[in-house]
């Protein structure tokens, strides 16, 4: 809190290892102590996610921009921008045809959904998350997905103080911290985070979402013991170009029409 811009009187710089591990059902996050002098000088906080296959980092937003590098593995990134349309949508017909071609005519539930764009990420990719933009990450690969992220708390976009903060939209991310004994969180240089729904009363939540109170209570994640990275036992399905492209390839390189997305002439 006492650090001001330009206060970088460093007499020694050390190569640092992460100082804190936060374990969760679907993976682990390692944090570097952001109160170290050099991190304070640079105004950055660094953490590394190790996400198991089928692990989902719950939706969250941060008080500063984040730049992420994918060290290993592959996965899917969902980036939520309020007001943008749900441009990834399934049509019932194409899905049915797809499953029929796979010999899954008896499939009881046809997957249908629409949501905002999701992005594939894999080793070597860098992705940027603006301050306050909610996002989630899912490991749909076969191996661990490892990402390292820098949160630029000194960025002009952060109008709060230099404490890295994460606002989760689900789960009970504090559970992992509560398992740590002894010293308070600040001394360990951990970012601060929790589920924002926890602070809302159940009744206004049920009205705002127009759902029953039991469903609204689940938003608060009070009895959720899975932590900030959960494991999706059945996997997670979403509409993505990969599925569409596979469907197209079965009909020849460009499908029935002249190009991959033209199935009829005007």
């Amino acid at each position: 809190g006492s650090w001001q811009q330009g206060e970088c009187h460093l007499s020694r710089i050390n190569a640092r290892e992460p100082t804190f591990r936060l374990e969760a059902e679907g993976g682990v996050t390692e944090f570097w102590d952001h109160t170290n002098d050099e991190f304070q000088c640079a105004g950055v906080s660094i953490h590394r996610h190790r996400i198991n296959p089928r692990g989902l980092v719950l939706p969250a937003y941060h008080n500063a921009p984040v730049l992420v590098y994918v060290v290993r593995g592959r996965g899917t990134l969902g980036y939520l921008i309020s007001g943008c349309p749900e441009t990834f949508e399934s049509s019932q017909e194409s899905q049915q045809e797809y499953y029929e071609e796979r010999g899954e005519e008896g499939r009881s539930h046809i997957f249908r959904d629409k949501h905002q764009k999701v992005r594939e990420i894999r080793q070597g990719y860098v992705f940027a998350i603006p301050a306050g933009a909610a996002h989630w990450t899912y490991n749909n690969g076969e191996e661990e997905l490892v990402t390292v992220a820098v949160q630029d708390v000194a960025n002009y976009a952060n109008q709060l103080d230099r404490t890295p903060r994460s606002f989760y939209l689900a789960g009970n991310p504090l559970r992992g911290q509560q398992q740590q004994e002894g010293r308070p969180r600040e001394q360990r240089g951990l970012p601060e985070f929790g589920n924002v729904f926890r602070g809302f009363k159940v009744r206004p939540l049920s009205e705002a979402f127009r759902v029953d109170e039991e469903t609204a209570r689940l938003l608060r994640g009070e009895n959720d013991t899975r932590g900030h990275i959960i494991r999706a036992e059945q996997g997670i399905q979403f509409v993505s170009p990969t599925l569409r492209e596979e469907y197209g390839r079965r009909e020849g390189q460009y499908g029935r029409g002249e190009g991959p997305y033209y199935t009829r002439d005007n």
Binding site: P59, S82, E86, H115, V118, F200, P204, E207
Partner: protein, 186 residues
């Protein structure tokens, strides 16, 4: 050359005019924003404003500002308001009424519900293009997520997840239900 530029710059706008509303719901209220796109001088002072009117029992969607703090001055009526920090703690949960000011820090989530007489306010934001994200409603973060992500995140069925995602079809201002929660309860 400053006579026809700086000296004549527009510096005012009537935000109270109902026809000026940017968001309007006849059953819930209206919301008018003023930013550097609508009043360019705001770019220099890096501030913006918004005027909100909620009718009786109506709700303003749970939301957070991505890039600004808000200082809200209530001009009429009263509202039940909750503000939540990053730890999931309610840093405010109570009634606000005419003449009071409340500050909502950047990224803190907030929800308002109007009382019997409705509720009106003016808010000043510390960014000339303050941007808001909503948690429920037609343009919310929930609508943006795949149903399976919602179902897994909250340990609910796909059907429940679909209800969470689609039940509210309004955008920012929601009509209240008859079974409004008891006001003043903390």
């Amino acid at each position: 050359g400053i006579e026809e530029t700086i000296c004549t710059a527009e510096i005012k706008e009537n935000l109270d005019k109902p026809s000026r509303a940017d968001i309007y719901n006849p059953r819930a209220g209206r919301f008018s924003t003023l930013n550097s796109l609508t009043l360019p001088i705001l770019r220099f002072i890096r501030l913006s404003a918004a005027r909100g009117v909620l009718y009786r029992d109506a709700i303003m969607a749970p939301h957070w500002f991505l890039n600004a703090h808000s200082a809200i001055y209530f001009t009429r009526g009263e509202c039940r308001m909750q503000i939540v920090n990053h730890l999931g703690q309610a840093v405010f949960d109570g009634q606000v009424r005419e003449g009071q000011v409340i500050v909502v820090p950047q990224n803190f989530a907030a929800v308002k519900q109007a009382g019997e007489q409705g509720c009106e306010w003016i808010e000043f934001n510390t960014n000339d293009n303050a941007m808001m994200n909503t948690l429920s409603g037609r343009t919310s973060a929930f609508r943006a997520m795949p149903v399976d992500v919602i179902a897994n995140a909250y340990q609910i069925s796909r059907e429940q997840a679909e209800r969470l995602k689609y039940s509210r079809r309004e955008t920012l201002l929601f009509s209240g239900s008859s079974s409004r929660y008891e006001r003043g309860r903390v």
